[in-house]
Amino acid sequence: MALPLSQMKTGQKGVVIQIAGGRGLNSRLAALGIRIGHEVTKVSSMLMAGPVVVKVGNTEIALGFGMAQKIIVEVNE
């Protein structure tokens, strides 16, 4: 099932399949390890559409809700 990163449940794992943003956002995210084909684990999200925290490899990354909406992941049930 494909859904935006912002809608993942805490603890859920998924593989990034699409980043609906420009080149700038893509390369910024890539530099932090969020790239198409990579697995991300949702760690937590702040209340009221706050930042979303994900784990990629050994790194934890917090990204704004808007950005998280642009990242589409494939989640295995």
């Binding site: 937590s44 702040m46 209340l47």
Partner: protein, 617 residues
């Protein structure tokens, strides 16, 4: 002789970011190189322990400077091997060589300045790069490594946090990695110093292999292959640290954790600051400096123009460090005797929180509310620091990227965030009339903070960038790096704040002597007293508040104010203007024009809030 680009002086210690080949006379070129020798650039992703490596490599002589035309700070120091002195530059952390923020732009610029210009032989200049890599995040870190290799500069790789790899079940084949990269790779644990000696001894072996310039996707594919080949990951168990990390990042437990951390930080800052004042600074000033100053006062004839400028007015025949208002008395006492101890304890605790890795977490926790106010998560820093002392709070506005955010943060902090000393006096004074009135003051300020933020967010054009930040694992800080950072910040404060406070005191003095302040007080007095419903005498407290807000609040005590007048006076005193030291720092951080606008906002807000309180209460 060429002068430094940064400070326009011939003899400064700044790096000359002027390319040597532009020197016209051959001998001056040699002198230039002879003085600065070769440079080592420490480069790497943020949070890889670069500053700790820097601290291990360099001695005590470290300097922090702003990169020309930016608010980005970098540090430089010197590495001594035998008689050979090499300049080491701690370049701001960057994820790639395609800048995404100002700090990354600076990193790229610094790299470009040591880059061979083609005709210039690199081996002669001897500039090289130490690429600090986080061994626990090999894949991500290698992207920058490959970017750097493309630049054809001699390089060595420090595979830092080597000890962490074991805890995390990561095995890295260093020899194989060396083969892939074509440069020396040295495992290091900067925290304990392990591998640093070897790193230094390998510097002469730094090499610049020719590698093909690849596009993004190809580079990532290569990196993927490389990491699979050199790295072996085994499963590992959760540690206590993992749990604390996880727990402090969940919305509710995270906020609770944040509240505890902030509370403890404040208690510690106050404890250390008060201790320093009570046992060190006050005795120094009262017992040693005061008698000397009294003698000077006598020599100058205890009054007169020069005496008033230098020593100030005598209070009951004695110098009062707070109220005398002379350059040598109040001008030195305020920054050194009252602010410095708090700045010291602040920066100590702040440095600890930074190196521990807590600040990004705090920024994430409060990001939502900060965005509503036109700011972003990191703006919590100036606010919290401001609660201790507005001076470091004002300095901390520089962590914010855009001019708009810096303006909003600085204005909000100056208006609605009282400093620790002031909070104490307000609680002491208003508290006598009942806790509810103390609440009235602070609730007003809090509402003001929110409302003003909401308004400024709409009025000032621009957007607050979304948060995108790496959350580093918790680390035990390395004390030497911590102290080095503390020293850099303190000396920066002394260099910059003292002249500014002295100028401020001089200015107020002159205005006072020329009776301009009296004139202003008489002009604004009737208007304000009607509007706020407070007696004339409160206006003079406002004038003192420019120097020390807590003292000004204290001055309200003998005035016999009603409770309502007291609440209004305390609130207005907080809002109307920052103290002189904060004001001076803000001018530096915002520029004269923005500071003028900000100050106008403060005065306007004070007038309105005072009036509203007068109506409502």
């Amino acid at each position: 002789m060429k002068t430094c680009e940064q400070c326009k002086s011939d003899t400064c210690k700044h790096i000359k970011w002027v390319k040597t080949e532009t020197e016209d006379a051959p001998d001056s070129g040699e002198k230039h190189r002879g003085k600065h020798k070769r440079r080592v650039l420490l480069m790497g992703n943020p949070n890889v322990g670069k500053s700790v490596v820097f601290s291990r490599l360099t001695g005590v002589n470290v300097i922090a400077s702003n990169y020309p035309g930016t608010t980005v700070e970098y540090t430089q120091g010197f590495l001594k091997v035998g008689d050979d002195i090499t300049e080491v530059i701690d370049v701001p952390g960057t994820y790639s060589l395609e800048p995404a923020c100002q700090a990354e732009e600076v990193a790229l610029k610094m790299l470009k300045e040591v880059e061979p210009s083609g005709k210039n032989d690199t081996s002669e200049a001897g500039d090289l790069i130490i690429n600090v890599v986080d061994a626990t995040n090999l894949e991500r870190n290698l992207h920058l490594t490959l970017d750097l290799l493309e630049r054809n500069l001699p390089m060595v790789v420090a595979l830092n946090m080597w000890d962490e790899t074991k805890h995390r079940g990561i095995e890295i084949d260093v020899v194989k990695l060396e083969e892939y990269l074509g440069v020396p790779v040295i495992p290091t644990v900067a925290l304990t110093g392990q591998g640093i000696k070897e790193l230094v001894s390998k510097l002469p072996e730094a090499s610049s292999p020719t590698i093909p310039v690849r596009n993004h996707d190809l580079k990532w594919t290569d990196i993927g292959r490389m990491t699979v080949d050199v790295q072996n990951i085994t499963h590992r168990h959760h540690t206590i640290r993992d749990r604390v990390e996880e727990w402090s990042m969940k919305p509710w437990s995270g906020l609770l954790f944040a509240a505890v951390i902030i509370f403890l930080s404040f208690e510690l800052i106050r404890f250390i600051g008060e201790g320093l004042i009570g046992y060190l600074f006050e005795p120094l000033f009262e017992d040693i400096y005061l008698p000397i100053l009294m003698k000077l006062s006598g020599l100058l004839g205890s009054s007169g123009f020069l005496h008033d400028i230098l020593i100030g007015k005598l209070i009951d025949g004695k110098i009062d460090f707070v109220q005398s208002f002379g350059l040598l008395s109040t001008g030195l006492f305020v920054p050194l005797g009252m602010v410095l101890p708090y700045i010291f304890s602040f920066y100590l605790i702040l440095g600890f929180l930074e190196d521990w890795g807590y600040l990004p977490r705090l920024a994430v926790l409060v990001d939502t509310i900060m965005h509503r106010l036109g700011l972003h998560g990191y703006a919590i820093l100036p606010m919290i620091l401001g609660l201790g002392c507005n001076v470091p709070g004002a300095m901390a506005t520089r962590v914010l990227e855009s001019r708009r955010e810096r303006f909003i943060a600085a204005t909000l902090m100056s208006i609605a965030v009282p400093c620790m000393a002031q909070i104490a006096v307000i609680i002491g004074l208003v508290g006598q009339r009942g806790g509810i009135y103390v609440a009235q003051v602070f609730l007003t300020l809090f509402l003001l903070w929110i409302v003003l933020g909401l308004v400024l967010r709409r009025v000032i054009k621009g957007i607050s960038p979304e948060l995108l930040v790496e959350i580093p694992p918790y680390h035990i800080p390395y004390w030497s790096a911590l102290l080095k950072k503390l020293w850099i910040r303190l000396s920066g404060f002394l260099r910059e704040a003292i002249p500014l406070v002295l100028i401020g005191v001089l200015l107020v003095n002159i205005l006072y002597t020329l009776k301009i302040i009296d004139f202003l007080a008489r002009l604004a007095g009737p208007f304000l007293t009607t509007l706020w419903g407070v007696p004339d005498s409160v206006i003079s407290a406002l004038l003192i508040g420019f120097l020390r807000k807590d003292v000004a609040v204290g001055m309200l005590e003998p005035l016999g104010l009603t409770t309502k007048q007291l609440v209004i006076s305390c609130t207005v005193l907080t809002v109307y203007f920052p103290c002189i030291a904060t004001f001076a720092v803000l001018i530096r951080e915002l520029g004269v024009k923005d500071m003028f606008k900000s100050a106008l906002l403060m005065i306007l807000t004070a007038i309105i809030v005072g009036f509203l309180l007068n109506m409502i209460l």
